[in-house]
Every structure is written in C-alpha cells, then in structure tokens.
Symmetry: C2
Subunit: 295 residues, 2 copies
C-alpha cells in the first residue's frame, strides 16, 4: 500500500506559547488540490524546506532538521518557525507512516500567497523510493562546476547559499546532466576547484584513517545526515574533519559517499568515469546506523 | 473591482494538430485550491514561466513570450510547449481582463506532480500593481554581485542561466537586499564586473546617442520588452547595440532604465546612491509606446 499524507499548517509565531497546536493543522488529501495558484512557492520557488527520513514510523533527527529550517528562514527573511508547532506536525505525519519500512516527511514553509498576509506551510508524508541499489552497488558521479567561486557565499549573502530554498531547478538540472553523461548523480565544485556538495546530498571522503567533509563556510548546506554520521564516527574513535577539499583530492580518496536524509549513505563507485573502490562493509555499517532510531 | 483569473491547462504535445484547445482548459477560482502538494513547481521551483503585460484587454508581445517559453523549456528539458494551445489560453485569460487598465497574464509550465506522468500548466490573470511612481519619479538601484563570472553560462549550461525558471528565490532576495540598502531594485553584475540584468527586468543605458543593453550571451534572459523597445528605437532612427558593459559604464551613462513586461520602462534615478538624471520626456515616450497595442 502506498503512503500519502498531507497536512496544512497555519504558521504560528515563534513565541506562540501554546503547547498544543492541533487546532492549527488540517489534514488534506495529498492527491487533491490544496494550494492556490497564487502560492509564491509555486510561482517563484520562494520558500524553504526540509526532507526528514522516517524509519519504521520514527522521524529521524527532527531537532537538527528544525534547526536548519530556522537557519534557512533567517537567511530568507521568513518568519522564524515555531519549533514546537513543527515538531507536532512532524509527529502527526509520522504517526500515519507505515510501522515498517522507510518514508519521507517533507516540511515546506512558503512566503505565502501573493499579496497575502502570512506565509503558508505544510507537511507531506510518503513512502521512500527503494534505494537498496544505490546503497549496495554505489553510484557513479560526475563533478559539475556550480559557477561560483569560493568567495561568493561570504561576499553575496543574497545568493542564499546556506539556505535550503525551494528554488531547486539548478539542482535538478545538474542531476539530469549527470545522467546524460552516464552517471547517477553530481558533485558541485566551485569555479576555483573546491569540492562543495551534491545537488541533494553531502559529500564525505575517507582519506586514510580520516573522514573528511567540505567545510561549512556558508557555501553549502550543513548536512543533517553528515553531521549525525560524523558524531557516530567520532564516538567510535574515528577522526573526522571539515576541510577545504580541492577537486584533485577526490581522485585520491580511499572511499567516498554521498549522504542524505532519505537515500542515506550511497557509496561512490566512480568519479568522472574513473572507478573508485566501494567499501561495502563500511557502507553497510553506516546505513545500519542511519536506519537506527536517531534523535 | 479586482481581476483574478486562473485557467488550468492539460498540456498538449507541440505537434498536436488541433486548432481548438478549449477542451484542454478548465477555468478555476484563483483564490481556492487548484494545485496538489505534490506539485514540483512548489517543491523545487521546477518549471518555467512568463509574465505578459495586458493593456486595455490586449496581451502584449505574445509571440515573443511564447518563443521565450519554448526556449526555457528546451534549456530545462521540459516538453516543448504547443504554441497554439498557449496562445488560446492567453486569449481566454485576456478576454476576461478589464477593458480599461493594466493587467498581467502569467504562464506557468511545471514539471508536474512528483512521479506523475506529465507536466502541469496553468495561466493566471490579475490587475497590475500601480507603477506610475516608478515610471515617473524613477527607481534607485544598487549593483549586486551574482557570484558568477561571465564565462559561467557557456561553461555550465546546467545553471540554466538563459531560462526563466520558477526558481526565483535569489531574485527575490536581491530585491530585499536592495530595499535594505534604501534602494528600490537591483542590477546583477558578474563577479568579473560585467553588467547583467535586474532580478525581474532588463537594463538599458543611453550612452550619448546610443541605446545599449547587455549582450545576450546566455547569461541573462533575453528581454521581450527590451527587444520591443529596441525595435521601436531603431525604427525611429536611433542606434541600438548589445554590448559587454563594464560596471564602470553605469556611472557614465547619460540615462538608464529597467524595462520589463508589466512595470514597463522605469528610469533609474540613482545607482549605488549616486544620482543619475531621469529623462522624464523620453521615459514618457517609451511608456506611451509600451502601452500601445504590440504584437
């Protein structure tokens, strides 16, 4: 059976002291019209989102996702979300998720209806796609120039580089370009040759005994899954680091993964058509951890 | 009275030979829900659009807008629009527009519903905002770095720089940044100092006897209003040119305008807080032309 869930939210101010926000929720049929054509999310990709993995009914890393939602809201001059309201909306969605299997809960906060008074917000729930192939056999990636030099994020905050906005047309175009080149996914690099992120995932490299991810300098999204996995690796005694990674380091990596909330850890099997070893055992351990209940 | 109109379209293939597409249209209430939460336009800004000015019931430059819609579709790997179908949808919207006054008809072609079979499409109609102040007193603009060097469009087509996509979060953020700086609008410049475009308009400068606009090299949207005005200026014997314009040229311009389909010609009264002369008479002539019926 297919899980499809949608809940409209009447966004409360961040300081709304209520403890029960059920009165601000309206469950709607996910397949029938729920949004007006005046929605600025749809007209201009003007809003922010989060995708939360759900495993056996448990929403993963809710606090980290809500923290990033608030961070995106600040960068985009949107009202700061009421964390308790969103937490209850996520719980309402997850309560309807299948008790066994993987799903995804999406949070969307839009600037609202054109000329309207408030933002609009909703949560959806759905089954996750089957990512076993990507997790086991790995994915081939190509590097794609994002056109921006690594100074751009600090110089031009209006580029919203650290915000998870709804304006994902370029991210989707990059994945199509990767497929045109016979690959599965992409890694964006800066115009001056620094490794950034994938269109919908974070990059993690193993360099000898160290696990390394690109520095969170505002130019990439802070990855909730990457952060969770790094905490786990550190708890096991591994060295982890945030670094400025030149593109050339990709070819020298002992292993590489794209990690994200729903596909989880996908090992990289080729970079720009050059094979790279997939560590099946380590990847399986990563995904066992990522599939365990995480808060 | 306020004009609000919305028409859902069942997109026909470009080679659909029908001459009457009325059966593919469904007029809906613009204020009530018409779109599903699965819409990729709303989840990812994944689609393209056009905004067409309507004057006294006449939609302006329909052919040029449809040509650009098709161009955007090609850049975004969307099905090529059926021009005749869209023309009829625009006519259906314009037929409902007030017989006197200015309006805007928006065309939206979205990649569709997630996992759905086809794109979704719709047209909206609404009264235009009152832009008399901008047209008469002018607008103050600031220059904002778009972060991309001028080689990026040719090097990285996945950045979709010549496409009018729904992913406009950065465009909207740039306008907010301009307002924070006490201005009304922005002009994007490349990281290597070349004048590009405004977030929702084209740039035209008068340099002595010449009218100049940034070269359409793929890095900016080809402006339908700019093109129409240049044809008009050429027909009056003026010299017009597409050039690579360094930022420094802005300060030396004898006059400058932002031109777009609905606000039309807005004279620039200051650039980065330095005043620039507004040519009220010439601007009024521009807008008389732009408000005349144009096909």
């Amino acid at each position: 059976m297919t899980w499809r869930f949608a809940l409209l939210i009447e966004p409360a101010p961040a300081d709304d002291p209520r403890t029960d926000f059920a009165a601000t929720f309206e469950v709607v049929d996910a397949a029938t019209p729920a949004l007006s054509v005046g929605e600025l999310s749809t007209q201009r990709g003007d809003g922010i989102f989060e995708s939360i993995g759900v495993v056996d009914g448990h929403p993963q890393e809710v606090a980290a996702h809500l923290e990033r939602l608030a961070h995106s809201a600040r960068l985009c001059d949107l009202p700061i979300p009421n964390v308790e309201q969103w937490r209850q909306a996520i719980a309402a969605a997850a309560a309807e998720a299948p008790r066994v299997g993987e799903g995804v809960v999406k949070l969307i906060l839009s600037r609202g209806i054109e000329h309207g008074p408030t933002p609009t917000a909703w949560v959806t729930g759905a089954d996750a796609a089957d990512f076993r192939g990507a997790r086991e056999r790995g994915i081939r990636i190509v590097t794609l120039d994002r056109g921006l030099d690594s100074g751009a994020p600090a110089r031009a905050p209006w580029l919203l580089l650290g915000a998870k906005t709804l304006s994902y047309a370029v991210n989707m175009a990059a994945i199509r370009e990767a497929r045109r080149r016979g690959a599965d996914d992409a890694i964006f690099v800066s115009s001056d040759g620094i490794v950034l992120e994938a269109p919908t995932a974070s990059v993690i490299l193993r360099l000898g005994d160290r696990f390394v991810t690109p520095a969170h300098d505002g130019g990439i999204l802070p990855g909730t899954t990457q952060l969770s996995l790094f905490e786990h690796l550190a708890s096991l005694g591994h060295e982890t680091a945030y670094e400025t990674i030149p593109v050339a380091a990709l070819a020298e990596a002992d292993a590489a993964w794209l990690v994200s909330s729903v596909r989880l850890a996908a090992p990289v099997s080729a970079i720009d058509a050059a094979p790279i070893a997939v560590d099946g055992e380590l990847t399986a351990a990563f995904n066992r951890y990522l599939l365990s209940p995480r808060d």
